[in-house]
């Protein structure tokens, strides 16, 4: 694969009920990403936006940010999905040879709608929706099965929440920097057994932008480019009952593709840090297994070992992860942006010392039906 780099990133502060409209948030990050890269809008020859019609309450939701994402004068497309898939689309557009520099902008305002209603619409209207399934209770079905099958405890899940909210204290963009204990998590309000309030990510507003460029363009900028070494995406089947919800095959397949492309054979040894899509605490443990950072069922022992803490050999979600800010669609893009900051050595108080290779991960649909994995290198 031709060398493609990420040369600019920007994020808004993530918060609930942000006073900014969709386009104001999108413009803020688009402009900041350009400034950070030392580029002007004329240097951008195409854009990719990531918006969702349900979350935004608007058909053709990408229209909302067409002007604000700099898409009015250059070819653009809209990936209605996680920001990681937006970057994949941007990457393919450059690799096709027809573009040099792609601006990717993702935004969402969870506070505009009612997440339970919006996530209910993920489920099959013919067979599933009438049961009142939504993002939280479907995750609870998955968590219960996964935990029961592999003997993962609620304490181990709680530890993920404690770690990530603590990490968020070092991230100025995070929404929920918290000093909490495992007991706080276990005693927080039960939403859908075994998921409690502090096992779940918040409702967030926010935007994120990333600029990709082919190698020849990177010479124009002063910032250290961060190279895309591998990428893979994959989906499981759709009906909840047809899936083995404790299985992580789709993630394994996406990761394998990304690792093969990047030449990574021993992920826990070769990867310095990971930013993964922990919409719920148990997910981080499951995704660790799917990404090959431990064996199947090893997620619990992995968090117990402290390896994934800041200062451990494989810090996971130094930013505080999605548990600390969950602007849907932008959330996966934020994983990439945070990984880039780490690899540039610009992650401030959340910097992982000596970070060389980072993994960024996004999910799509209910219970991680779809996954997208990026391997990035300084």
């Amino acid at each position: 694969m031709e060398r493609i780099a990420i040369i600019g990133v920007a994020q808004t502060k993530y918060q609930r009920n942000s006073p900014s409209s969709h386009d104001e948030m999108a413009f803020e990050v688009a402009q900041k990403a350009l400034e950070g890269a030392g580029l002007s809008i004329e240097d951008i020859d195409n854009t990719v936006t990531c918006t969702n019609d349900f979350w935004d309450g608007r058909t053709i939701s990408c229209m909302t940010i067409t002007d604000a994402s700099g898409s009015s004068k250059v070819p653009t497309t809209n990936v209605e999905g996680d920001g990681t898939l937006g970057v994949l689309m941007g990457l393919m557009r450059i690799l096709s040879g027809h573009f040099k520099t792609t601006l990717v902008v993702a935004q969402s305002k969870g506070s505009v709608g009612i997440p339970g209603l919006i996530t209910n619409a993920i489920f099959d209207p013919l067979y599933e929706r009438i049961l009142g399934l939504d993002g939280i209770n479907s995750a609870a079905l998955q968590a219960r099965l996964y935990m029961s099958k592999y003997g993962i405890t609620e304490e181990q899940c709680a530890r993920v929440s404690v770690k990530n909210h603590k990490n968020a204290k070092n991230n100025p963009y995070a929404q929920l920097p918290l000093d909490i204990t495992v007991k706080d998590v276990l005693n927080s309000r039960m939403l859908a057994d075994p998921i409690k309030l502090l096992d779940a990510s918040p409702i967030s507003d926010g935007a994120c932008a990333v600029i990709l460029a082919r190698e020849s363009e990177t010479r124009k900028i002063s910032k250290k480019p961060v190279w895309i070494k591998g990428v893979g995406h994959c989906s499981d089947t759709y009906h909840l009952g047809d899936r083995d919800l404790s299985d992580v095959g789709a993630l394994q397949s996406a990761a394998k593709r990304a690792y093969d492309m990047a030449g990574i054979s021993n992920p826990p040894k070769e990867i310095s840090l990971a930013e993964v899509y922990d919409a719920f605490s148990y997910m981080e443990l499951m995704w660790m297994e799917g990404l090959g950072f431990c064996g199947r069922g090893g997620g619990g022992a992995l968090i117990d070992s402290g390896i994934t803490e800041m200062g451990g050999s494989l810090p996971v979600n130094p930013s505080g992860g999605v548990l600390s800010a969950h602007p849907v669609l932008a959330a996966g893009l934020a994983r990439i942006a945070e990984s880039v900051l780490q690899l540039r050595g610009e992650a401030g108080a959340r910097q992982v010392a000596g970070a060389r290779v980072a993994l960024a991960h996004g999910i799509e649909g209910a219970c991680g039906q779809g996954h997208c994995v990026f391997v990035l290198k300084s």
């Binding site: 599933e128 049961l131 009142g132 399934l133």
Partner: protein, 155 residues
């Protein structure tokens, strides 16, 4: 008048998207619900290649894309694969007032799970692996809630 960002509170415009939808069930889904409605029977469909029985049935095998036409009548009983107790309210979409229990049931004779409600059950005593059986509504209209819920099967 110059722009001073953050100078005023944003106006919130309350509106909605309220539309009626009518989703076609197709030949396969219609037959499944007709059987449920008219005869209280649950049918699955078998992929002749993968040898997997899917419920609810579908026309195309989700794994090999074969067209499936081998209907299999399933029992009303099964084993609970996983469950949760929903304790928070979401307006207008929940079938019962919380708390209520959701489960995925491995129906006898099928190889896949069937998500449904759990009823007549002590919410604190649900466990994976328990045997459950379908309870049908007296008046049925041809949708998933023609099965009222699954209740624990008498030993």
């Amino acid at each position: 008048m110059t722009v001073e960002l953050g100078n005023t509170e944003s106006r919130i415009h309350q509106s909605r998207i309220r539309l009626k939808y009518n989703w076609w069930l197709g030949n396969v889904g219609s037959r499944f619900y007709r059987e449920l409605r008219d005869r209280c029977k649950i049918w699955g469909i078998k992929c002749s290649k993968c040898q997997v029985v899917y419920v609810p049935p579908k026309e195309n095998c989700p794994k090999c894309f074969c067209q499936m036409n081998d209907w299999v009548e399933l029992g009303n009983t099964g084993t609970l694969i996983t469950y949760t107790v929903v304790r928070y309210p979401v307006p207008s979409i929940q079938p019962q007032k919380p708390p209520f229990a959701l489960g995925i049931i491995h129906l006898d004779g099928a190889q896949t799970g069937f998500p449904h409600l759990l009823g007549e059950i002590d919410l604190e005593k649900i466990r994976i692996g328990m045997r459950v059986q379908a309870v049908f509504q007296d008046v049925r209209g041809g949708n998933l809630l023609d099965i009222k819920y699954f209740k624990p099967q008498k030993e």
